[in-house]
């Protein structure tokens, strides 16, 4: 584990932004997910020492960022704010971070970071003239310039066009695969799903769930599971399955059935036999509710 929050709370006057959050992050990409106002940004700010916890403790690479600022040699942040220095060029901006971050060769580090995000060609233009997506890439380059072990990105895909999003997602996945701890917050589920299956979900300042998406879904025993079955005679299969214990409903499509069951294990045991008995050929069985969106919808639902 490279970053950890223990019993973390943060309030601003009467408003509680974080409430007793205990979570840790390990190398690889972790998606920090939650609706707007869930406390994602506050968690990341406290985790990286930009804000002081009202209660609880934070360590990142074993250090308290508020007490030992040398941690910033190994930790980098991409803040949510769109703000950059509009009169600086992309190269000047990244070079500034390289100098402040004590890079041994700031010029070389700057070129490497710009190249990594594909901004080398536009690096001599003022940031004020950049598109939102290019600014995001410049911010990512400024974070990468110190070659950090922990990279914290708050809504890094905001404003990026689809091509830029795909490139940034690939980059984050690559950085995670290199063994860095990459924490990416987003309220766009599909984006997070493309980066990682490891999820930290927050709702109303509290931790709603932590783990892999499939693990989280499996742990939700109170929620019926949905299974998609593709078969050559779906109508007959639907009728036959209604007698299986736990099956609450079957939604019939043209070639597939969406089965809702409270006992997925029972369904898995009986399904081959039912199909064989009725001479139905099953082509595919797949979970229909293990997408991040579905899991998150369940989480939000259970929290509210």
């Amino acid at each position: 584990m490279t970053a950890q929050a223990i019993g973390l709370s943060k309030w601003f006057g009467q408003k509680v932004a974080l409430s007793d959050v205990t979570v840790d992050f390990s190398p690889g990409v972790t998606g920090l997910l939650g609706p707007n106002g869930a406390g994602k940004t506050t968690l990341l700010r406290v985790l990286t020492g930009l804000q002081v916890p009202s209660q609880g403790k934070v360590t990142i690479l074993g250090l308290d960022p508020r007490k030992d600022r040398s941690v910033y040699e190994r930790v980098a942040i991409v803040p949510e704010d769109e703000a950059v220095y509009p009169d600086l060029t992309g190269r000047q901006f990244v070079a500034l971070r390289a100098k402040l971050g004590r890079c041994s060769d700031p010029a070389e580090a700057t070129e490497r970071a710009l190249d990594t995000v594909g901004l080398s060609d536009a690096a001599d233009r003022a940031l004020g003239g950049f598109s939102k997506g290019m600014r995001q890439r410049a911010k990512v380059a400024a974070a990468l310039v110190t070659d950090p072990e922990v990279l914290v990105l708050d809504e890094p895909l905001n404003g990026a066009d689809p091509v830029q999003r795909a490139q940034l997602i690939d980059l984050f996945v690559r950085l995670g695969a290199e063994g860095r701890t990459v924490i990416v917050s987003s309220h766009v589920l599909v984006e997070v799903e493309r980066m990682t299956h490891r999820l930290v979900a927050m709702i109303d300042g509290r931790l709603a769930a932590v783990g892999r998406i499939d693990e989280l879904r499996s742990a939700m025993t109170d929620k019926p599971r949905q299974v998609l079955v593709t078969a050559d005679r779906p109508r007959e299969l639907a009728a036959a399955l209604m007698t299986v214990a736990g099956v609450e409903g079957v939604h019939l499509g043209r070639t597939a059935l969406e089965i809702t069951t409270t006992e997925p294990a029972t369904l898995a045991r009986f399904l081959p036999g039912v199909a064989r008995t009725h001479g139905i050929r099953i082509r595919e069985i797949a979970p229909a509710d293990e997408s991040m969106e579905q899991v998150f919808r369940y989480l939000v639902g259970s929290e509210s």
Binding site: R69, A83, L100, G101
Partner: protein, 244 residues
């Protein structure tokens, strides 16, 4: 001190229209002195220069320095760019020292620019380039004092201008004039004491003010302490207060 942070904050503070505007505001006292001296004989000109220099910049220069010094870190906070300079592996003391130094140099730069019209005017009218030289101490001391005190305010509070203006007009302008015990906390009076120690000031330049006694060395020592206190407060704030 971190040269990269110092250079960055200094260039941000002294950029563009604000630099021009604050330079113009700081120059009001010098220009007013120049205009007031016009047509007077040499002796009267010197007296008028001293009277104007000891009064008009108390508001104009102070406000210009307030705006500049608070902007050193406030700009970064308000602009959302503070994380880029805050999340860096320099100690809180280094961060604070670099920020205070940037604030002081920015304040001194504008103070020097503000002093120039009065110096040129006094030279043109009296034929002597030394008439305005003692006032340089006034401008420089004010720059150091306000720069050291207002830079931490820019980090700590959202409404720094209101707090700063209250200090300049209510605390320094009214209370320090009325209550001699409060005068010791007036940066302007500390700076004036250095000026008064370096020049034989016209009585009207000293009129109705609880002028402090410390003189040039006392003022220097006080400003050194103020600068140290400013750095300490900012160090504490960097360690203990939210950066964003």
């Amino acid at each position: 001190m971190n040269i990269a942070l110092f250079g960055h904050l200094l260039s941000r503070t002294l950029r563009g229209k604000r630099f021009l505007g604050m330079s113009a505001l700081a120059s009001v006292g010098g220009i007013a002195a120049w205009v007031s001296m016009a047509g007077l004989n040499t002796d009267d000109s010197v007296g008028v220069y001293q009277v104007v220099t000891s009064s008009v910049p108390a508001a104009t220069l102070s406000i210009a320095l307030l705006i500049l010094a608070t902007a050193t870190l406030r700009d970064e906070r308000d602009g959302g760019t503070l994380p880029y300079v805050f999340a860096t592996p320099m100690s809180a003391v280094t961060f604070a020292a670099s920020s205070i130094a940037a604030s002081l140099v920015a304040a001194l730069t504008v103070a020097m620019i503000g002093w120039l019209p009065g110096w040129i005017g006094s030279w043109v009218i009296t034929g002597s380039a030394t008439v305005a030289l003692p006032a340089l101490a006034l401008y420089a001391a004010a720059a150091v004092g306000y720069g050291a005190v207002f830079a931490p305010l820019g980090y700590l509070f959202d409404r720094t201008l209101i707090i700063g203006l209250a200090y300049i007009f209510v605390w320094e302008g009214i209370l320090a004039t009325a209550v001699s015990g409060i005068a010791a906390s007036s940066i302007w009076r500390i700076a004036m004491s250095a000026y008064a120690d370096l020049d034989q000031l016209h009585p009207d330049a000293l009129d109705d003010r609880n002028l402090l006694e410390p003189g040039r060395w006392g003022a220097a020592a006080t400003l050194l302490i103020l600068t140290g206190l400013g750095a300490m407060v900012l160090t504490w704030a960097v360690r203990s207060r939210d950066a964003v």
